[in-house]
Point group: C7
Chain length 72, copies 7
């Protein structure tokens, strides 16, 4: 299975997304497209040290270009 | 629903846009296209610490390339 | 209306353009294309702190790739 | 053989992936595509000094754009 | 007129080109293409503070990708 | 001969590859494609000062996007 | 003449290439393509201060993406 097919398995599950510039965002993966644009619900942003969580209520759209990696 | 379809739900509502280089901008999402170019009204820019808000009256066009994520 | 259509409304009006690397440039928007290449007249460049304005007489062409956002 | 054909030989084997921004990630290469998007299982992230391993259980999707190099 | 048409007016005239990374280069604009690749004659490079001019005799080719803006 | 044709002459010979972010990698060039994705065998990574060599046994795939230059 | 046609005039002549990240490389331009991939012979690399020349014997391939400008 190709990488984006494997990402299907994470739909509606919590993921951690590491972003360019050192920030990370955690949330439930609700949707993605082939550019790796992502929609997360109940998201929480963390700074480069993984600290200072900021809740992002509602749905957060992450631009695929900013994604370094996505893990459960 | 694909990520950009979900962004439809934020039209005419306040959003927070995190930009490359650490700045954030808040405003009402008036329009977007498939490149994630955005138009915000009543926008307010914040520096990397989320401080020093600078009002941006009128409509602000954000280049999609600069967007890290968009949340309500 | 799509974002670039809304930018039509700023033609021949003063705009502030925030650029990658922290610089900003103010001027009258004379022209733009779909890449967000811009032409400004009577432009003035500011450093990352918004200080030290440097006048740029004549027409200044800003490469779209360098644009973070454009506001009135 | 072309580079991506040679990467076939690393499928289901442990790899070290060096990422933009100095981080590295180790894991078992489960899948990749022509953009070098990768799926790793049993991954472990390291900081820029190769220290502070953080386990990433489950499957981690690495965006190809973030990859500097991949070695066994 | 579109931005690149307006740049025609600067042909064979002195321009200042601001480059990524803070450097600037001044010279006479001899040619450009749609990627904003530029050829300058009698060019002079300046560091990020606009100091330490280094003459670049002959014709200098600037890669369009590196251009932030071009002004007279 | 075009640049990539000249690179053919380095096949199966030792090369030094300078990477974005200051790292360098030395090894034997086993394969490359038109994106400058490279495969090196018997590779050795060096930090930004050219020090602290880390051997990378097996074949290392370098993403073309990360390459600054390749020399013998 | 378009920029890349003017670069023809520098073939087999010494050039200075300024690279992203502050490094420069000098050598004889032996070949280039439309992406500005370059081949230099008898090249010499300099650090961001233009110091510490490192000779690069044989032919060096510079990735076009890394080029800021090329001058004689």
């Amino acid at each position: 299975m190709k990488p984006l097919d494997l990402l299907q398995q994470s739909l509606h599950k919590p993921v951690l997304v590491e972003l360019r510039g050192g920030r990370t965002i955690r949330g439930t993966l609700e949707s993605f497209d082939q550019h790796l644009n992502l929609v997360l619900s109940s998201a929480e942003e963390h700074d480069a040290k993984g600290e200072n969580p900021t809740p992002r209520p509602g749905v957060t759209l992450v631009r695929g270009d900013s994604v370094i990696f996505i893990s459960p």
